[in-house]
């Protein structure tokens, strides 16, 4: 069944506003998605009906907010197919999730160990590993991409060895839209590097639906709430229970302890041992509402719709004089990155904004990738489930005006 996009749009209040006197065409979904009314209502309801701290109150409100907060964990666990709710750690977002893992790994890496990342990494999944390697005297290996922006899977395989201690890669590249074949790549890791742990940066993957961590066979999966219809400031680190139970604690303080004396402390059980301090309670509740909203949609429909949007953009782009697509991997989702001959991406973004079309321009937090591609940056339109084919057309109408003005 095809997606009823108008019905979906009606649930996102912001989509009916105007920008610079023009109807908003929001194509910056890879940066952050808009929020459905159900998620906004959950935040309002939390603060108006049951706000209080969790896990500690001796009163009704605290019980209720703890219930909503821990229910949110169950929702996430179900959504990504975690084996147990204790495997879901609340964080502030992908960046923090990755840092928990990389800081822990920095303590475990030995000199001579190797860590693999890819050329298409977001800084969040690059700087973290580069710094962990520096701290531990381990070697960072960067798996190249092919000319079309796909990962060089052959190179990936040859770079794996007994020395590989960790592999970190994105499920989907935020700058190119490349979908990595993570399942088959992880199979190679298991076959060649028995002690390697694998983290998947799911920031751009999770909102397209259908992620099951057990199928991927990764050890850690990181994502942000705000990129999948939830609030900013909340995210998730999923990890295998046995690993998380032993993982070096990264923040100490309240909530995460078992017993404390002046001179010593012991750590509490999962998931709290990795969640020090008062958590982002409303954020977790809001993210759960966003996920529950998203789960009312059919994943195959969502993906078919997003593919139609991207296909239309690629087709119109190929006819658009001077436009060069950046990233043409056969498996791609959500992201249409491009440059227009004789123009700078920042100028394109500005003229589009004047016409109500919101895109992102710049290096997309992937400076080494831009350097590798020989580009100062790109313009990037990124799509979500509520975008329409008409909006893709509006993008190109706006681009034609930008080219007329700039070239």
């Amino acid at each position: 069944m095809a997606l009823d996009v108008q019905a979906i749009r009606a649930q996102f209040p912001i989509l009916s506003r105007e920008v610079n006197g023009k109807p908003l065409v929001y194509l910056d979904n890879a940066a952050t998605t808009q929020k459905p009314q159900a998620m906004i209502d959950a935040l309002v309801s939390f603060y108006t009906e049951c706000n209080s701290n969790v896990h500690r109150g001796a009163h009704a409100l605290s019980d209720e907010s703890t219930r909503r907060y821990e229910h949110a964990r169950d929702v996430v666990a179900g959504f990504i197919g975690a084996a147990s709710r204790e495997e879901v750690i609340w964080t502030s977002g992908t960046t923090e999730s990755i840092n928990i893992v990389s800081k822990g790994m920095a303590q475990r890496l030995q000199a001579g160990d190797e860590v693999l990342v890819t050329e298409m990494e977001h800084h969040a999944n690059l700087v973290t590993w580069q710094q962990a390697c520096k701290a531990a005297g381990a070697r960072l290996l960067v798996v190249p991409i092919l000319a079309n922006g796909a990962l060089d899977a052959d190179a990936f395989v040859t770079m794996l060895s007994e020395k590989t201690a960790f592999v970190a890669m994105p499920q989907v590249s935020n700058a190119l839209g490349t979908v990595n074949p993570v399942r088959s790549l992880i199979k190679e890791v298991r076959a060649r590097s028995p002690r390697a742990l694998v983290l998947i940066d799911g920031a751009q993957g999770v909102a397209h639906g259908g992620v099951k961590v057990a199928d991927l066979d990764c050890d850690f999966y990181a994502f942000s709430g705000h990129k999948m219809f939830g609030p900013t400031g909340v995210g998730v680190l999923w990890g295998r229970r046995a690993l998380l139970a032993e993982w070096p604690v990264w923040l100490t303080g309240g909530e995460m302890i078992a017993e404390v004396s002046y001179q010593d402390a012991t750590w509490g059980a999962l998931p709290h041992r990795l969640e020090a301090g008062t958590p982002h309670i409303s954020g977790a509740v809001g993210l759960a509402a966003a996920i529950e909203w998203f789960q009312t949609l059919d994943v195959a429909d969502v993906q078919a719709h997003e593919k139609a949007l991207l296909d239309r953009a690629v087709a119109l782009g190929s006819e658009f004089k001077g436009l060069r697509l950046v990233g043409a991997a056969p498996e791609k989702i959500g992201v249409f990155s491009f440059v227009i001959e004789g123009t700078h991406p920042a100028d394109i973004g500005f003229i589009l904004d004047k016409q109500g079309v919101a895109i992102r321009t710049g290096d997309h937090c992937a400076q080494p990738l831009m350097k590798r591609l020989g580009l100062p940056g790109t313009a990037r339109a990124s799509f979500s489930v509520y975008n329409t084919l008409d909006e893709v057309d509006a993008l190109f109408t706006a681009l034609a005006k930008a080219r007329d003005m700039l070239v």
Partner: protein, 135 residues
């Protein structure tokens, strides 16, 4: 290129009503602004914006200060041309006196020069005024 005086720019932009002709004017100024040669685009002259880079090459000519500026984005170049109309070939005293924020406000372009806009313009203005203050 002889840049129009600030007062002429104000008049021109006032005359141009809609955003398209206003920005076309700025883009055309940007295209007309002389480019810094590639080899002069040295890193130490670079002011990094988050969207585009900007370069500033200052020098003295007698009593007046001269500047060469450049950016890889043409709208920023156009805005730099506006900045140059105010500052280039002026004495340090004139530079320090000139109300650049008021000028951009009068042009209805103040958002481009606001500190939150990461296009390097604010940093260039700061650097020019600093140079003028230290002579």
């Amino acid at each position: 290129m002889k840049l129009p005086e600030p007062s002429e720019i104000v008049d021109d932009l006032e005359f141009l009503g809609d955003w398209e002709s206003r920005y076309q004017y700025i883009i055309d100024l940007g295209k007309a602004l002389p480019k810094l040669p590639e080899d002069a685009r040295a890193d130490e002259l670079k002011v990094k914006g988050c969207q585009s880079d900007v370069w500033l090459l200052p020098s003295h000519q007698g009593d007046v200060m001269t500047f060469q500026v450049d950016s890889d984005a043409v709208i920023v170049r156009g805005l730099l041309a506006l900045v140059m109309s105010a500052y280039n070939e002026k004495s340090p005293a004139e530079i320090l006196q000139f109300d650049i924020d008021g000028f951009f406000k009068e042009l209805d372009l103040e958002r481009h020069i606001s500190p939150t806009r990461g296009n390097g313009l604010r940093a260039i203005v700061g650097k020019i005024r600093e140079l003028a203050a230290t002579g």
